[in-house]
Symmetry: C6
Subunit: 269 residues, 6 copies
Amino acid sequence: MSEIDAAQYRVAAMPYYRPVGNETELYEAAYAARMPLILKGPTGCGKSRFVEHMAWRLDRPLITVACNEDMTAADLVGRFLLDLNGTRWQDGPLTVAARIGAICYLDEVVETRQDTLVVIHSLTDHRRMLPLDKKGELVAAHPDFQMVISYNPGYQSLNKELKPSTRQRFGAMAFDYPLPEIEAEIVAHESGVAPAQAAKLVQMAHRSRNLKGHGLDEGISTRLLIYAGRLIVQGIPPAEACRMALVRPLTDDPDMQDTLDAAIDTLFG
Amino acid sequence: MSEIDAAQYRVAAMPYYRPVGNETELYEAAYAARMPLILKGPTGCGKSRFVEHMAWRLDRPLITVACNEDMTAADLVGRFLLDLNGTRWQDGPLTVAARIGAICYLDEVVETRQDTLVVIHSLTDHRRMLPLDKKGELVAAHPDFQMVISYNPGYQSLNKELKPSTRQRFGAMAFDYPLPEIEAEIVAHESGVAPAQAAKLVQMAHRSRNLKGHGLDEGISTRLLIYAGRLIVQGIPPAEACRMALVRPLTDDPDMQDTLDAAIDTLFG
Amino acid sequence: MSEIDAAQYRVAAMPYYRPVGNETELYEAAYAARMPLILKGPTGCGKSRFVEHMAWRLDRPLITVACNEDMTAADLVGRFLLDLNGTRWQDGPLTVAARIGAICYLDEVVETRQDTLVVIHSLTDHRRMLPLDKKGELVAAHPDFQMVISYNPGYQSLNKELKPSTRQRFGAMAFDYPLPEIEAEIVAHESGVAPAQAAKLVQMAHRSRNLKGHGLDEGISTRLLIYAGRLIVQGIPPAEACRMALVRPLTDDPDMQDTLDAAIDTLFG
Amino acid sequence: MSEIDAAQYRVAAMPYYRPVGNETELYEAAYAARMPLILKGPTGCGKSRFVEHMAWRLDRPLITVACNEDMTAADLVGRFLLDLNGTRWQDGPLTVAARIGAICYLDEVVETRQDTLVVIHSLTDHRRMLPLDKKGELVAAHPDFQMVISYNPGYQSLNKELKPSTRQRFGAMAFDYPLPEIEAEIVAHESGVAPAQAAKLVQMAHRSRNLKGHGLDEGISTRLLIYAGRLIVQGIPPAEACRMALVRPLTDDPDMQDTLDAAIDTLFG
Amino acid sequence: MSEIDAAQYRVAAMPYYRPVGNETELYEAAYAARMPLILKGPTGCGKSRFVEHMAWRLDRPLITVACNEDMTAADLVGRFLLDLNGTRWQDGPLTVAARIGAICYLDEVVETRQDTLVVIHSLTDHRRMLPLDKKGELVAAHPDFQMVISYNPGYQSLNKELKPSTRQRFGAMAFDYPLPEIEAEIVAHESGVAPAQAAKLVQMAHRSRNLKGHGLDEGISTRLLIYAGRLIVQGIPPAEACRMALVRPLTDDPDMQDTLDAAIDTLFG
Amino acid sequence: MSEIDAAQYRVAAMPYYRPVGNETELYEAAYAARMPLILKGPTGCGKSRFVEHMAWRLDRPLITVACNEDMTAADLVGRFLLDLNGTRWQDGPLTVAARIGAICYLDEVVETRQDTLVVIHSLTDHRRMLPLDKKGELVAAHPDFQMVISYNPGYQSLNKELKPSTRQRFGAMAFDYPLPEIEAEIVAHESGVAPAQAAKLVQMAHRSRNLKGHGLDEGISTRLLIYAGRLIVQGIPPAEACRMALVRPLTDDPDMQDTLDAAIDTLFG
């Protein structure tokens, strides 16, 4: 279908990604086998960045869908819209991806009601087809099409688990925060802060990550460290930047804030 | 109704299916009696493949519907769409199947709200009719029409059971994973991995299947074994391929991952 | 209203029905009094067949509605549809039945949300009228109109009971499986199996019906016996036919399957 | 608004109503004061008949709405429909009644979600107005308009109670089954059965009404007695007519059926 | 916007209102400060009448909205309707009030889902603006606009409380039933009953109000007293009028009815 | 897109804001880093005023969205509307803000179902893009775009917490009521009341704030103090003004009202 503007889904410039292991090789093998993939890992550790990087590396268009509980099968597959001549079919992002051979990335997939996800089943087994029941069309996936989904196993509730019949259509890669030196390198690169400050910020993150499950749902992410770094570059004193970018967003609990503020004072005071 | 493109529902090439008993004969007798059929069995054991194979064998069109909780009777039966001249009736997949004499296959039927399923009742008893109440039409099923539904009895909850009044309209066939030698043959055939590796992969699957109900919802399916085989063919070391294709998708529990990783190391280490 | 095609609701040929008592006389008296009727009884015992038979006998059109939880009052009464000239009213099956003097049969009525059923109240008391509130029309029922509803008292939950204000508009007839000899006669007639085999199938059904409430929601219905008979006629060995048509559809519980399979082996082994 | 066909809401012939006290005088005084009225009483005791009778007596159109849980304010007040020239407002039954000065009768009002009922507030206090918010019109009620609602206090749940702010806009009249002699007179008049049989039927009803709250939700209503009488007139033996019209509709409980059947045998055996 | 018919929202004649304190002065000061107002008090004590009276006194249009649980933000703010030329924006009552400088009165505001009420926030703080997000317009409130809301604190549940962020945008005035002499004066004025009878009716109301919380949700309101008075004026004996207008609407509990009937007999017997 | 009227989102005059610390500097640094911001703090303490002030200071358009539980992703992002030529896309406020480089302020963000908020994720990480899935367009945020959200950590329930994956995209600033002298200065400035009276009003507020969690959900806000001041300026006696503006809106509990009224009498009596 020539009217889809596939070019807009190309990743224009190489997204910065610092590999921490053989994850790019594994992804390339999975893509070669057209194996659908699950990316698991905590918030802000770089999963979205990784898939952008791989789409760039493999020179495939990337279609990202931020999942939410209201998402229906029609939001993925498409629907009829009213037009001058009556109803007109509009492909959803999943259908577009299947047609143009894109990598289709469903971000935070456990947010979606799992029954909505059933629509991806026929695309993720030997059939590689997508039935558009409402339109009465069977779309055969482009040979280059691949499905990738991500979630954070850390705070997934019982009601928000992938069903076995969904899981068993995917390979999976587990992500975590990078090693301290690598994470400091990333923070410095992305925020412009000095390496020594970046290292201290990473130290602060590690203290918070040890509190996960002891009053914090999640530790400080790499992304927040980069924000703190940018505030420091703007001239905000490091302790104040850390409170604003690392502590206040993380928790509303006064005791936990005190604990984290004390850690800041020790590191930057 | 000549405007339905029945040809697109034909199964083009013979789908690979390795019989494990007299299941093809039983299906043929059931079809000859036009008995509606339930296919029961665990995820990824080959139910969908089997019905494709039988549709090919019987030379009937196959219309597959992936069921989900949001599916309404209208999604099966059809609805009015807005057109240049006002509303226009659009047959749903069930109605199309009844008209053209297809095998209508409702996959993962327990996902559907059981009350939606009531619409299939008049097609699955002596009447073999489908009332389109909204259109005021009674569709008599084509003589070749057959209804087939599938589900996984393993993780069906109390809220997701077929009602007796639905069940008692069907014969049923129970599926399970194939015997080890047959399963290894399938894995080798589908992934291209060497028979010895395929046998080891099947051994790994059996270990996981023994853990079903002891921390795993489901064991490793044949489908995942094929993925692992393909990664090995891509040059990924077998242990790494197994972790990616067999263990990480299956569970987020660290202890269970360790147990399964240890089994991998024993087999492939 | 001349545009309703009443002919399509005529029951073309006499539906086979084997009376088990004076039920046809009672129905005829109830119809003569235009008393609305409830048909109660287990799944697959012949309620739908009976009402078809009576419609044929009384030479009235029959409009059957398979009830479900999503059914709204509009599904019964009618709604506005969009047309070339704007909105157009489309009668629902209840309204059509009231206009043409059909027997309106609501099958599995307890599936319907009981509040939806309130729309039948004015048709089932002295008024015999149906207000189409949205259209601003009061439809007086045709003198031949009768309302018939059915349900299975066996597995009706607390949430799915007819309200007294609904019940008290109906007379009621209770149905059960026929006596063994009659049931065997029916099975033989409908499946073509030999009388001796039919008698054995009925024996099998009785064993399962004794297990109702002891692990089975419902026993084997006459309908399933007919399916088993048809498989035997197709050449499937009787024991295998019974497992496929009588046991596997009935239950997913392995112990119960074993119990029933043992009974099969005793009878047919 | 001249396009409303008020004539169809006229009660054509005097509905048979046998007064049991001064209820017609009380109603007339209430109507003269334009006091909104609640009619309370058990199922099938004659509330709907009474309001029809009064509408005929007062020569007012009567608009009856059978309430249900899905009823929205728009179902009462009206809505925009799509027309050749775009959207067109369609008055709901409440608005029609307010415009033409009808008695508006909401039957089984506790079925309605109580919040929907808020729309009647401004019609039932000193304002006697109905704001059509969506249309931007304020409808002043016709001087002859009166609101009447009914419910059965017997089986109203906690979730289905009229709010004080609704109740306190109404006077109320309590209804019950008529005295035995009067009820027998009604049954004989309406069914054509002989007075002696009618008296026995009423006796049967009294026995069941004593069981209310002891296994029965409601006793046998006058309406069911009339049905039984009609079956007897059709030639059905009295005991059989009673089982069909009085017992089977009332309960699915086998013990309760036995108790009631025994009472029938005593009276008619 | 010139097309709004503001005249219809003018209160034509002075609504009868008998002040019981300095409430009119307080309201005038609040209006002068354009302070949004909460009116609290029991059912039928005169809150709606008071705001009508004040609108008349201040010569402002009054737009009243009866709140209910189904009310959405669009019901208050407006929505797009379909027109000959496509969609056309229709202001909701809140938007109309903001544009024309009316007093906007939300009656029984706790019925509304509290989240719907968030739309009034920007109109009730320093901004006095209403964003029509769907239309992309920011409406600045007319300088004369004022928001008034009412509720009955007596039977408000935990689920139906105004959120602090809503409450803290309002001043509040508490209403109660008037003192006995004043209430009797009102009853006599409104119903035409003689002063002595009016005084007795008020006595009856006081007895019931003492039972509030002891079996009654609310006592007899002034409004019901006026109804009773009107029935007496129609010639209904006082005791009977009281039972019909004061007791039967108030409660379905037989014991409570007996208690209140006894009080009637004492006063009027 | 030139058709958006960005001018209407400009803050016309400098909104009065009295800084209490270095909050304007911190905001400016955050804006320079385009860091998304959370503003936390109690009701009526000045968060909305602050963001207006900063938008004026930074000379950026400000688009405010009052969040509510019914808000869907489409309310933020946009939807298709029906037009003369069929459907037409209408940008939602978030999309408008992203296009024109506005500050987009989501007020009371925890009211929104957290899954709706997932749509802001791609705008608040390194991507700064907004996919309009239904339109098939990827909007790159204008370089000046910034996202700001606010909530009150005080009465946020378990069901209404920001998810870690949302939180970790923001820096955060905590607000509280200003110090007494500053708050009195604000009250005097905004209401016109004399400084001494303003100081007493602030004292009253402090007494109520100490009762937070001891029978009050929230203490008296600065906004209510300003209302009280304005009533006093209108000539209402201070004690009466306080009861109307500070106590009655805050609580329906009679004991708590007495406590607060006593405090008023002490301060103003």
